[in-house]
Subunit: 254 residues, 2 copies
DNA sequence: GACATCCGTTCGCGTTCCGTAAGGCTCGTG
DNA sequence: CACGAGCCTTACGGAACGCGAACGGATGTC
């Protein structure tokens, strides 16, 4: 089944799979042992490596030592306040922070965002949602700092940073949209996407004319398919959407 | 005529529109017929397909059979306690659970969190709010780009995300409905489903012509059975329905 | 300012798929 | 063995869908 974790920015097509998240270090900061325990065990079950701190001071010290990939931070803490901890964390690193607020009050949210929190969760929260948010935020931050890798498959080569596509060394002249579409499909091969899916992820629209997708698929086919009349790579799945196959026959040469 | 993808709730930062939720299966578990009835009718009005159970045991059994997308679970149940039901549900699937608690007591909340509930609602609840919570939780649990697990059995291979079915490596050309039917049956082997069951789960209808199922079963048989005249995998259980056997003879040769 | 490029939209056509209806067959029961 | 209900098979019409071609507007370039 599918999903979405709250993404504020219009659906970024992430290439980071859940398996890339396994082993990441998460620091859980809460003075309530029960809450911390529940959160930790769920996160651990999802493959994260967990450290815990009971107050702000310990949190800062620990963060310094272990350099976590993400921090789950309670807003209300004995000693240094959660907001302040967040600010100080941010002062010397760009570690993502998820803030746990007492209630979804507007003030808390604003304060949290100002302090540099990446996301927040109102208490009482569901541990499963916490896991989803952690994964989502981590995915985003990994995306951001991972240099875009070049995609190679079946004679094609896609360079996202240069925005150049070649087949057997020869450049394929793609327009901007065509490249975006191609890139997304190439990053998620052997998966069917509906026109709505593509409109949301590639175009970043939540509504719109679906035939836009149809036409662009057609144009893309014209440039990458050997025989655009009977597509071999970018195939239509009737009543569902489109699927990109990198090369059922391994390395379908040109 | 243009076809539009419309997101009904622009307020929510999620990219999953409400239309994606229509037809999802919700299991409502409550021993009080009045409560169950109210909840069911409201959810049904919002486009969900509803099944009901009166106690924990029936709930677990039904969940096994129909594989719901979400469970609305009363905390107080005759026989097995709601919390325990939740825990057992979680034991073998990741189906989201919304717990109905007698009152927002702290103990209930903690116990629920530990058992893995996704959200709560204190009784008496507003049916309107229930619908909203169900939609919200479902939206969260839908992760679009995480490929689903591939099913393999007796020479067959079913890839739900690619929507490709193969036997011994050779692709079987299935239509959309045929694939859905095949997928559902393959996910619940050795179980008998009535035509009503299939119409509800695969088609997402609560009423309709049962012969629709009959015909599709026949069409599916034509494509997956070695001898469609005497089916070996998708067999008829007279007066009851259909059963799919992954390979009565272990690894039914090709 | 003229031109080329790209993008989103529109319309008509051919195809595919689905649901339903009708008749024949099969299985279980009395 | 006969009957009836349940199931299978076939055929068909309509609706949904995808495709191709072309148009007009917006944008950027020379």
């Amino acid at each position: 089944m599918a999903t979405y974790a709250v993404n504020v920015s219009p659906a970024a097509p992430s290439s980071v799979g859940n398996e890339d998240l396994v082993g990441r270090r998460v620091l859980v900061v809460d003075d309530d042992p029960t809450v911390a325990e529940v959160a930790s065990s769920y996160l651990r079950a999802s493959g994260f490596v967990i450290d815990e701190a009971r107050d702000g001071f310990a949190a800062l010290q620990l963060a310094e030592r272990i350099d976590p990939d993400l921090v789950v931070l309670d807003r209300m803490l004995p000693g240094i306040d959660g907001i302040e901890v967040c600010r100080r964390l941010r002062h010397r690193s760009s570690v993502p922070v998820i803030l746990l607020t007492a209630l979804g009050s507007e003030d808390d949210r604003i304060a949290g965002l100002e302090a540099g929190a990446d996301d927040y969760l109102a208490k009482p929260f569901s541990p499963r949602e916490l896991v989803l948010r952690v994964q989502s935020v981590l995915r985003r931050s990994i995306d951001e700092f991972t240099p875009q890798s070049v995609l190679e498959f079946g004679g094609f080569r896609l360079d996202p940073s240069a925005r150049v596509a070649t087949r057997a060394g020869a450049e394929i002249a793609l327009t901007s949209r065509e490249f975006d579409l191609f890139e997304f499909l190439a990053k998620h091969p052997n998966q069917v996407f509906s026109r709505e899916d593509l409109l949301r992820t590639v175009w970043g629209w939540t509504y719109g004319d679906l035939s836009t997708v149809t036409v662009h698929v057609r144009r893309l086919r014209e440039k990458i398919e050997l025989d655009p009349r009977s597509p071999a790579l970018l195939t239509t799945v009737w009543g569902v959407g489109y699927r990109f196959t990198t090369g059922g026959a391994p390395d379908a040469m040109v």
